[in-house]
Symmetry: none
Subunit: 326 residues, 2 copies
Amino acid sequence: MMNNDFEFIVNELRKAPEVALFSHVSPDGDCMGSMLALGLALKKMGKTVYLFNPDLVPHNLDFLPGADLVRNILPDPLPQTLCFVDCTDLRRVNLKISQFSKDAVIINIDHHISNQRFGMLNCVQSDASATGEIIMALIKELGVPFDQEIATDLYTAIVTDTGSFQFSNTTPKTHRLAADLLESGIDLLQIHHRIFDQKPLAQIELLSRALKGLKLYAEGKLSVMTLNKNDFVETGAHDSLSEGLINNARSIEGVEVAVLFKEIEERIIKVGFRSNLWFDVNALASKFGGGGHKRAAGCTMEVPLGEARKSVIKAIEEELSLGRGY
Amino acid sequence: MMNNDFEFIVNELRKAPEVALFSHVSPDGDCMGSMLALGLALKKMGKTVYLFNPDLVPHNLDFLPGADLVRNILPDPLPQTLCFVDCTDLRRVNLKISQFSKDAVIINIDHHISNQRFGMLNCVQSDASATGEIIMALIKELGVPFDQEIATDLYTAIVTDTGSFQFSNTTPKTHRLAADLLESGIDLLQIHHRIFDQKPLAQIELLSRALKGLKLYAEGKLSVMTLNKNDFVETGAHDSLSEGLINNARSIEGVEVAVLFKEIEERIIKVGFRSNLWFDVNALASKFGGGGHKRAAGCTMEVPLGEARKSVIKAIEEELSLGRGY
C-alpha cells in the first residue's frame, strides 16, 4: 500500500549522516509527535539530527520525548537532507525554497490532501488519519524498534489528529496501529492527562460564565454565548483559554448555529461561529468582514458589544428563517 | 483467555428458547450497548428475548439498534434463563433473588472488579475495558455474525466505557476489537454525534449549575461539584443527564480527585468519584458502601446532602494528606 516515494525516502534517510526535520507553525500533536518520533529513530541509527519548529513546543506537548531537542533557529550550515513532516507547503514553516542550497534533498511527508508536493521526494497519503501513521511505517521500514519514547510520540500524533479516534478519518488501521503502540508500554493515562486534561481553573470559570449567559434564539436553532471584558479580567483568563468553549453551545440538541461573542476591548468584539449540519457560517462571517470554513468561522467587529450582538443575531435569524437551502 | 463460566454460558444461551436480559439502573452506553447487542444476536438465533432496564433507555442512547425493545416491567412469566450484563449485583437492577423461581438459571456477565458473583453462571473479566468486550467474544462464540446493528451497539459500549479510548482500562485488545467493529460498516460520525453532541438544553443548564458551585479543596487536589434536588427540578433534567459532568471537575490542572454529589431525594445522595493518576476511588467508594473501578467509582448515601459532603470530603482530604502511596 506504500505509494509515492516511500522507498526512496527510506533509502535517503538510511544513507544520510545528518538530517534536519521541520514541523509547522502553531504546532499540534501530529506534526510535533511525528517529527519527534522520526528524530529519535534517526538518532538511534547514529545520525546527527536537528529538529526545527518556528514556534517551539507548546506547553501541553512539552512532555513528549525529544521535545527538549526542538529549536526555532535553523542549523548553520544546514545538512543536505531536509525532511518536512505534516506541512502542506513551505509557508507552513515560514521558510522559502531559496533558503536551501540547490543540492539539498527535500523530503515531504504529509497526509493533507492539499499538500503542494514541494519536495524532491514526496510521500503524501491522504487516507492516513495522521502523518504519524506514515512516520510509523517509515520507522518500521528503517528497522528501528518502537521503544516507549517513540511510541509515545506516535500515539500522541494519532490521538490528537483523530480527536481520540472520533473523527471520520479514523480507520480500522488507525485502531490497529494504536494497539501496537499501546503494546510498547506507553503511559496512556499520562498522555491523555497532559493533552486533554490539565485545564487552568480560569478556563473552567470562563466556561461557567459563558454557560450562565447562554441564550437560544430562532426556535432553538441558534445558541449564543457572550463573554464581556469583565469575564476575562475577573477570571484572569487569557483570550486563548476561550478556545473550544463554543462547542458547548453547538452541541445542544436542535441547535444549528452557535455564536460566541468575546469583548476583547470596549469596541473590539471577536465573534466565533459554528454550525452543525447545513448553515454556511463562512458566508455569514464574510458579511461582517471575517471568514473561515462552512462549519467554523469568525470575524472581529469594532462596535460596542450590544450592537455586535444585535446585528449578528438579526442576520442569522433572517438566514435561518429562509430555511435549509435544499 | 476466557475464564470463569464462559463456555457454560455459551451452552446455556445456545439451548435456551427464551432469555430475559437485564441491565442496570441509570443505564450507560456499556450496559445498554451490551444488552442490546446480545439481545439482537439471540433474536437472530431465533430465540424469544426480553430486554429489561428499570429506567428504560436514556435519550442519548435511544438511537441504538434494538432500543425500542427495552421495557421497565418484568416479563410475566419470567423465562428460565436470566442474563444480567454489567451489573455488580442484583440491587443494580432493583431486583431481589427471591423474585426468581428456584430453577432459574441466572447468568452474570460483567467487568467490574467488585462484582458479587451472584449468578449460577458467572463470567467476570475485570481486565475487559467494557462488558461489551465480553459480549463481543460471546456473540462470536455463539456464531452470530457482527452486522452493522450489533456492531453499533458493541462499539457504543466500548467507546463510552473507555471515554473514547482514553481511560486506563483501554488495552491493545480494545483497539483491535474496535478495528473489527469499524469494519462492520458502523457510522462513526452518527454514533459520536448522538452520544457526545445532541445534548438536551437541560443538560447544559445542569452543567452550568454544577460549575457555578465548583469548589477546590486539599490545596487544589480535590474538586467538588454539587447538584441539589432543586437543580434537577428547576432545569427539568433527569439524573441521567448528569453523566459525564464530573469530568469538568476532574480535568482541572492540579486536581487528582473529583467528586460530584447529587441530591436525588432529600436523604438519597448519589456520589460519583473520579481520579486522575493514582488515587484509588474504588477503595474510597467502598468505605461508603459503593464501588467501581480505581479511577471511576460511586456510592449512594442515605443522609442529608450537607452530611454526605462533609464526611466524603473529610475522608478524601485525609487520604490525600497521606500522599501518593509509593
